[in-house]
Amino acid sequence: MTETSKAETKNLSFFYGNFQALKNINLSILEKKVTALIGPSGCGKTTFLRCFNRMHDLYPHNRYEGEIILLPENTNIISPDIDPIEVRMHISMVFQKPNPFPKSIYENVAYGLRVRGINKKSALDEKVEKSLREAALWDEVRNRLYGQAFDLSGGQQQRLCIARALATDPEMILFDEPTSALDPIATSKIEELIIELKSKVTILIVTHNMQQAARISDKTGFFYLGELIEYSTTDKLFTAPAVKQTEEYITGRFG
């Protein structure tokens, strides 16, 4: 499989008010691959992830510098001329804690489509089933699509959130520590799912768990204090890291 870039960050910096959380990040995300971001708490990996769907625009005093070029459109998605809503229409997100809406399972998945003005029952039905199948949840919920999403278990809720993110046919999905609130069995289901999904969509995932990054990702970036210390193929980063700090982190000597 050829390796083409899906997105490239060019000298990306990010500021919360006066605090610089990201420092000149240059990184290229490969299409239909899993890119994992690791690093200790507060190192900027989640901040980096949330640049890709302009989540930071929801809060005041946040400022981007540099560029994130989305390919092949070749648009800078953090440019002030680009509407953040347009970016979110193409890049969806799965959060740290499962956050389904207090609505039915069906309505949770259909929500992104309704936002896009799709309200035809047949179109919604089809898309909801397809997304739930892709998120490996269909068999568990097919008989209670109109039941409350909150009655599902934590792992099911997170897969529901993945189905919700898939329903809008995104080009890229951002995962922000998607398994940190889940038990090991639910975690392994989500991991399998992510590996399967990469045939369809580009995946960027932040994780606390280095084994998880090693298991599911093709490329891994190590962040420390707002800087990208090392970025290479996952195999190389975990077996032969080029930078000393990376080695110390993955061997558990700090972080």
Binding site: N53, L58, P60, I85, M93, P102, G112, V115, C161, R164
Partner: protein, 302 residues
């Protein structure tokens, strides 16, 4: 060993002492309410009948009733709700979801909190100047309803803001992350999830408004009304009439006040009977508020 037992006994003594003090304090409120209800019931129960509910006030106490008063109260509160709910909810949503936090929203916030504590008669004065004299609405149901709407507006705004704040931010982020605009998020999430809290605030506001006398007297509501407002439905086109909005009116507490201030014993009984009806109305509304809160809490968990 025995020292420790002594100590425990001593500690427990204070524990039980507070238990008794707390229980007595609780009972004072409850008992007073019971005594009040029983007193009203003893005085007024004999007057509580169908005739009482369907008669106009009269010079003869045994013929007098509260028809114009409860219809007036109902219509005034209808106007109050129709005015206060959209205004208060829209303002609350704006302040929580749209307004950026700056000195202006801070001032608005402090003012809303202060408005809730303004004595109701001051609202009456404001309404007299604004609605009666400036807009020339007259001493009408419209004026009464809008006055009470002003009175409960801060409560509605605060209830709205509180229940919006209870919605976790993760829900908003989930909605925005799917490409929703602010209005789509408000329409599909913020409003539905905060409806329980908003309704509770509205009902509690209205049950306060139903007993308000001072502002209604200030705007010049009459104390003796022996007719009903114009009916809202008419036999001729366009079948709907809003004439009732402009009609003079009275409300329950004014009717009570009128009767209490008369020398005859029989009118005192009428006042007590009207008091029972008023209290029942308040109790029903508060019960409804509790029920709605319970229903919505059960439906939505985070």
């Amino acid at each position: 060993m025995s020292d420790i037992k002594k100590r425990i006994r001593y500690n427990k003594f204070w524990n039980y002492l507070f238990l008794i003090i707390g229980l007595l304090s609780t009972l004072v409120g409850l008992l007073l309410l019971c005594v009040l209800m029983i007193d009203l019931a003893l005085d007024g129960a004999s007057r509580l009948n169908y005739q009482f509910l369907t008669s106009y006030p009269s010079r003869f106490p045994e013929e007098a009733g509260i028809l114009s008063a409860w219809v007036g109260s109902f219509l005034v509160l209808l106007v109050t709700a129709l005015a206060a709910i959209p205004l208060g909810v829209a303002a609350g949503i704006y302040l929580e979801e749209y307004g950026r936090k700056n000195w202006l929203t801070d001032i608005i916030e402090i003012n809303t909190a202060n408005l809730a504590g303004v004595p109701s008669i001051v609202y009456g004065l404001l309404a007299l100047g604004l609605f009666v004299n400036f807009f020339k609405f007259g001493e009408s149901i419209l004026t009464g309803g809008l006055t009470l709407a002003l009175l409960i507006l801060p409560m509605v705004i605060m209830a709205t803001r509180e229940s919006i704040r209870a919605i976790p931010n993760s829900i908003r982020e989930a909605s925005y992350a799917l490409g929703a605009t602010k209005w789509q998020t408000v329409q599909w999430h913020i409003i539905p999830y905060s409806t329980g809290g908003i309704l509770t605030g509205v009902i509690i506001g209205i049950s306060r408004a139903i007993g308000e006398t001072a502002p209604i007297i200030t705007i010049g509501a009459l104390t003796f009304i022996a007719f009903l407002p114009a009916p809202p439905l008419t036999p001729e086109f366009p079948f709907l009439s809003f004439q009732w909005l402009m009609d003079p009116f009275t409300v329950m507490p004014i009717q009570m006040f009128n009767w209490v201030s008369r020398p005859q014993q029989a009118f005192q009984q009428n006042a007590a009977a009207a008091g029972i009806v008023l209290m029942l109305m308040t109790l029903i509304m508060n019960g409804l508020a509790i029920y709605i809160r319970y229903r919505f809490r059960k439906k939505i968990k985070w």
